[in-house]
């Protein structure tokens, strides 16, 4: 481990020490901790936003207005591929941080590209599913059930798209600026974001596709 990296982890360790001894509180936390913590709070708020869409879907999933039901529309095979892509991308996303810890540019960039390609494949599969449904006359305008389906799954897809844009920007930044402290903090935040999308996807997979397929 090189010097900068030791500081990366010692910052964390010393902060953990502060928290353990609340009585002799040592003042403001380390920047890495503050940024990571703040980003977690943002992710929590994002999860709350998803939960509103989940709630709407739960309320509206039987309001098909005489239109197609979930079991007539949803393809478990397609969604299995999507899930595989996203879960794999979480693994490669973890490799980004491993590469960054080791300060290996090629490794880190390769992991970033792999994550991006898997994310892109996921998006393509999702867009294909959406266009197929719309071409069958099962678009979001058909019924409240489909409105909530497209809004919830689309909201997740929009997050993945924004994540890809961020990922591309990070690749360029990392290439130009190298493993600077602020770049490392951003990579950490990107990791948190990407894993959060995975967690939300697990809920989408279960509550929208598995439950929906049974209806």
């Amino acid at each position: 481990m090189n010097v900068a990296n030791e500081r990366f982890s010692s910052e964390l360790a010393s902060h953990a020490h502060h928290e353990a001894h609340e009585e002799d509180h040592h003042g403001p936390g380390a920047k890495l901790v503050i940024v990571g913590y703040g980003f977690w709070i943002f992710l929590l708020s994002d999860i709350v936003m998803f939960s509103a869409f989940f709630a709407a879907h739960a309320v509206l999933q039987d309001s098909t207005d005489g239109g197609p039901k979930g079991s007539e529309l949803l393809s478990i095979r397609n969604v299995a591929y999507e899930t595989a892509c996203l879960l794999l991308s979480s693994f490669t996303c973890g490799l980004i941080l491993v590469g960054a810890e080791a300060r290996r540019m090629a490794w880190t960039q390769a992991a970033l590209i792999a994550t991006g390609l898997l994310g892109l494949t996921f998006l393509v599969l999702e867009v294909r599913e959406f266009t197929e449904m719309i071409s069958q006359g099962a678009g979001p305008q058909r019924s409240a059930f489909l409105s909530s389906f497209f809004a919830l799954v689309g909201c997740h897809g929009a997050h993945v798209s924004v994540g890809l844009l961020w990922l591309g920007t990070m690749m360029a930044q990392l290439f130009v600026k190298g493993f600077r402290d602020d770049i490392l903090r951003r990579l950490l935040c990107f990791n948190l974001f990407w894993h959060m999308l995975d967690i939300v996807w697990v809920a989408v997979f279960t509550l929208v596709y598995l439950v929906g397929d049974a209806r």
Binding site: G27, G38, F42, L44, F53, S63, A144, S147, A151, T169
Partner: protein, 670 residues
């Protein structure tokens, strides 16, 4: 090319918005010309618009809020005077215009008056009370402010370009859906709130992180000031509640723009879901506003009673209790929807429980005053006015929490009177109290006391004369939002309320005079000690106004009232605390990111409202480019040299030594 936007969007046939809009435009252009002519533009850009200093941002938030408070008040005057003459008569406002006014009044007062002033005070005070140099994310803070301003701007544009929503301050479907609100009014509402809501969420994230992760050495949770605690609670509510608002408004926007069926009459849409979602945000929102207000009163009552806050721990528990319970009472806003008696009973009881927790706070404030040497200066008058007024509002709230009573009172002006009772008596009084209390800290001179007291008395009397009659009219069955009416029994009460609003108008005028007189006499009102009110928390430990870095040395905190304790120690020992060598201080650099983001957000919002699709794309791409440009910069901090720190801090210490000498002399004289 310009979507739905044509010259007909300007209401040529309606003189009121046209003339007032023209006046505002002329005033703004005049102000801009004056600023450019005087050469103040570079100063304004450098020191304010691109500032990431939490104190500057706090002041800008408060200014924005005060301007919008005036706009909301003008709406209120129009509604009250209109109802006074609209008995067996059409009044002077056509129905569509009247509907816009009550919608704009509520939207503006909550989102663009109360919220900005509250957030402004949190911004200014919290880092000072925590004994730190800034918030966790200074640039995000600036972005949050400018996005809020962007939302406010869109609401004001709707005055002269197109129209505002006619669907009330919460756009209930199906009225807010496309078939019943085909104009751009609801779209103005949606995008103004989505943009400013994003700004508010940024504030929430920033302050939760700041309070939990950035406190002066030794400041444990149980040593934080009550205002910091309530700020924390309020911002946790923002983080948990505002995303629900965003999601709900996105759903409504999808219905209106892309033909979705979330809340529509047809296609299986569910209107009741809108009520549930919007109030799952809406009720916590009430506490987002009132909890910091409680914090302000806690600081003021303890300072002006010369005593520590009574029952500090119970106050913390009560604050967090309200924080949690506020999420399980939302259904009391629509008991009449028909969820069934058991559901109504649960929510009715939960609502009443909040009154118990709030009662704990009221008694704590009373016991803080008990046995204290109370100084009746303006901030304390507001606090006393609050205690009396808020208890009345609380009791009518408990009355409304009883479902059978609510069935009789739902949608009457009794409800209007109730929530104005708690929001004016709780939040607005707190804003006035807080501004009076912290104004000297922000600007280095205090506000004129005589005119401040005049503002207080006219406001409180104006409030009672306006809203007590509305309680009666509500009990007589008068429903809210009436453009005209024929019931003779309501008339005297409506006329009485008009007198009340006139008295409130006098209060507004007094407020302007107070500002004018105070700024004119600022040399006589100057505070050199930094501790004008004999304060107890850390914001008084630095000079007024504080230097950009707040504290030359981060204070060592040893108790719940750190500054009070420091002063006691100095008086015992006869000298100020020793200091080490001055160190250079790293501070965040200015950034135009917030302003640029908000500029393009306004553009995106406006073009979405008018369906100018190419401009939507352009503004989003531009906003992203601005974001990357910000992310690309290499230096985000600058250094204040040790000599500069020393110079500024030595001035403060000289003033404090003079103060200490006076204290020691005074005690020797006794």
């Amino acid at each position: 090319m310009f979507g739905k936007l044509t010259l007909d969007a300007i209401p040529w046939d309606q003189p009121i918005p046209l003339i007032s809009g023209a006046m505002v435009v002329v005033l703004l252009l005049g102000l801009l010309a004056w600023i450019s002519f005087k050469g103040y533009m570079p100063y304004l850009w450098r020191e304010w618009i691109t500032s990431v200093d939490h104190k500057r941002i706090g002041v800008m938030y408060a200014l924005l809020g005060l301007v919008m408070l005036l706009r909301g008040f003008v709406d209120a005057v129009m509604m009250r005077t209109h109802q006074a003459v609209a008995f067996h008569a059409p009044g002077y406002l056509p129905p569509h215009h009247y509907d816009q006014i009550f919608s704009a009044h509520g939207t503006i007062m909550i989102f663009f008056a109360a919220m900005p002033i509250i957030i402004g005070l949190m911004n200014f005070v919290t880092p000072l009370q925590l004994g730190v140099r800034d918030v966790a994310f200074p640039t995000l803070n600036s972005t949050g402010f400018w996005l809020t301003a962007s939302g406010a701007l869109l609401v004001n544009i709707s005055l002269v370009v197109g129209e505002f929503s006619q669907a009330g301050w919460l756009p209930y479907p199906p009225l807010s859906e496309l078939p019943y609100s085909p104009g751009v009014g609801v779209d103005y509402y949606l995008w103004a709130l989505l943009i400013s809501g994003a700004g508010t969420l940024m504030t929430g994230i920033n302050f939760v992180t700041t309070i939990l992760k950035m406190r002066a050495p030794g400041m444990t949770y149980m040593r934080m000031s009550m205002f910091c605690w309530t700020t924390l609670a309020s911002n946790m509510l923002i983080v948990a509640a505002f995303p629900i608002l965003t999601a709900t408004l996105i759903m409504l926007a999808l219905d209106r723009y892309l033909g979705f069926h979330f809340f529509t009459n047809d296609g299986g849409g569910n209107m009741a879901m809108f009520l549930n979602l919007i109030w799952a945000w809406g009720h916590p929102e009430v506490y987002i506003l009132v909890l910091p207000s409680f914090g302000i009163f806690s600081e003021i009552i303890s300072t002006f009673s010369g005593k520590p806050l009574f029952g500090y721990r119970s106050m913390v528990i009560a604050t967090l209790g309200i924080c949690v319970i506020s999420f399980i009472v939302w259904l009391h806003h629509f008991f009449t929807m028909g969820a069934g008696s058991n559901v109504n009973a649960v929510f009715g009881i939960a609502t009443s429980v909040i009154a118990v927790v709030t009662g704990v706070k009221i008694f704590n404030w009373l016991f803080t005053m008990y046995g204290g040497r109370i100084r009746y200066q303006t901030p304390m008058l507001w606090s006393l006015g609050f205690l009396v007024t808020f208890v009345i509002g609380g009791m009518t709230g408990v009355l409304l929490a009883v479902p059978p009573a609510d069935f009789a009172l739902h949608n009457t002006v009794f409800v209007i009177a109730h929530f104005h009772n708690v929001i004016i008596g709780g939040v607005v009084f707190a804003l006035y109290a807080g501004i009076t209390f912290w104004f000297p800290k922000a600007f280095g001179f205090k506000l004129n006391e005589t005119w401040g007291k005049a503002v207080f008395w006219f406001t409180i009397i104006g409030f009672y004369v306006t809203f007590m009659p509305l309680y009666v009219a509500g009990l007589l069955g008068m429903t809210r939002r009436l453009q005209h009416y024929e019931v003779a029994e309501w008339r005297p009460w409506v006329v009485a309320a008009t007198f009340g609003v006139a008295i409130s108008g006098i209060a507004m005028i007094c407020q302007f005079i107070q500002l004018y007189v105070s700024i004119r006499d600022r040399e006589a009102l100057r505070d050199k000690t930094g501790d004008l009110w004999n304060g107890r928390a850390l914001e008084w430990a630095t000079s007024s106004p504080p230097p950009v870095f707040n504290f030359a040395f981060l204070p060592e905190v040893k108790s719940e009232e750190p500054y009070w304790e420091m002063k006691q120690r100095s008086m015992r020992t006869g000298h100020l605390a020793d200091i080490g060598a001055y160190q250079p201080i790293e501070m965040p650099r200015n950034s135009a990111t917030g302003f640029i983001t908000a500029f393009f957000a306004t553009m995106a919002g406006f073009s979405l409202i008018w369906h100018i699709w190419w401009m939507v794309v352009v503004s989003i791409v531009a906003a992203y480019a601005g974001f990357v440009w910000f992310a690309w910069r290499d230096k985000d901090e600058y250094t204040v040299p040790a000599s500069e720190v020393e110079k500024l801090d030595q001035e403060r210490r000289l003033a404090r030594e003079a103060w200490l000498a006076r204290q020691v002399n005074a005690s020797e004289a006794i």
